[in-house]
Symmetry: C2
Subunit: 222 residues, 2 copies
């Protein structure tokens, strides 16, 4: 955001790191900008200069995460050729990256389903990171060798992204040791998703394909 | 809960009505037990005698809603013979009943996805009303004349209930006039759901059926 030299880049990074540490350990609602500034060793005014609110800090974390995971996903996709492996690669990078922040993401989840809340993954404000992320599923589908019916092509990456959001939601509230149950959910649901994609082009399922496209057009027209 | 005469039944009902009015107009978090007692015209101790917390009031509202809608659904199912009509009947009763409380339900939604929160529709505490509600979808499927594959039979009512929860989630955040977009979503998704149920028994889809059952067994085993 700020065009700035290395010094101010460093200060900005330090504030963001301090904020995330406090959000993780003390909770998002419970943490104040004053405490963040103190933890980062900067004046309160300086913290506000870089981030106008706690929400702006979360948004910066989202962007940072999007940049970091993008690199990791490009690398992971390079190594996988089959569709299940490629989808799993995208999802695994996300789970590994966000693991230290699972509880913090859970605390934010109260807003997640409301597309008008800026921090929601469905909001206008998070559109850019969302579209990048949907693009990863597009990349996972391409070069997988799986034929996608023409009418589903523009929609399938977004559907896979929704599938991923469902997995993340399950994971946020998964209290099993090391979130073992989320692992099982992925193991069981991914072959199903891949199989559905593979049979989607069968002539028998043409009416179903049409209904899905109609449904998505209606949902996204608003 | 309380075995009580008509007088105390009346007082309990008055407190519940007052609470719901305040939750709707001022918000759940913002309302105190003191204000509820005042609005109901009872002493604070009396309010606490009937309901130990605001959460207990919400739980009582859930139970009341479950009782009321159960009667309406039984009646509505009696009048519909085809599967789409029968599923729609169950869903429509719910939307009509909850319409005045849409925003209040939205405010509660912060907890909804966490199965360990007592007010979540997925919690242990709401199991009874949830099972009753799943039973409505079982009733909708029976006598519809649609053949359900044996292995899906025990799971399908719960899947339809999940579908309904998805619709309700969409509706809570639907800002279109009179929630017109939710209406479109139901119009477009219901034929898809019904068609998927109808083709589910095709031999071609046997592997898919097996994967779905495996997935559900894994998810509900925990």
């Amino acid at each position: 955001m700020h065009r700035a030299g290395p010094k101010s880049e460093e200060t900005r990074g330090r504030i963001l790191t301090a904020a995330m540490d406090l959000f993780r350990t003390r909770g998002f609602e419970e943490t104040t900008m004053r405490e963040i500034a103190q933890e980062a060793g900067v004046a309160l005014g300086s913290a506000y200069y870089y981030f106008e609110s706690k929400e702006a800090l979360v948004m910066a974390f989202y962007r940072q995460a999007a940049d970091d995971t993008h690199q990791l996903i490009v690398q992971a996709l390079f190594e996988k050729k089959d569709l299940p492996g490629r989808i799993r690669a995208v999802v695994d990078v996300k789970f590994r990256y966000f693991a230290p922040n699972r509880k913090f993401l859970g605390a934010l989840f109260g807003h997640a389903a409301d597309p008008e809340h800026p921090l929601s993954p469905f909001s206008e404000e998070t559109r850019e990171t969302r579209e990048t992320d949907i693009g990863h599923f597009d990349a996972a589908l391409r070069e997988s060798g799986v034929k996608i019916p023409k009418e589903l092509k523009p929609h399938l990456p977004r559907l896979l992204w929704m599938y991923q959001m469902g997995l993340i939601l399950f994971w946020i509230y998964d209290r099993s040791p090391s979130q073992k149950r989320t692992g099982q959910l992925i193991d069981k649901s991914l072959p199903l998703v891949v199989n559905l994609i593979k049979i989607a082009r069968f002539p028998l399922l043409r009416p179903i394909r049409k209904m899905i496209v109609d449904l998505l057009d209606a949902v996204y027209s608003g």
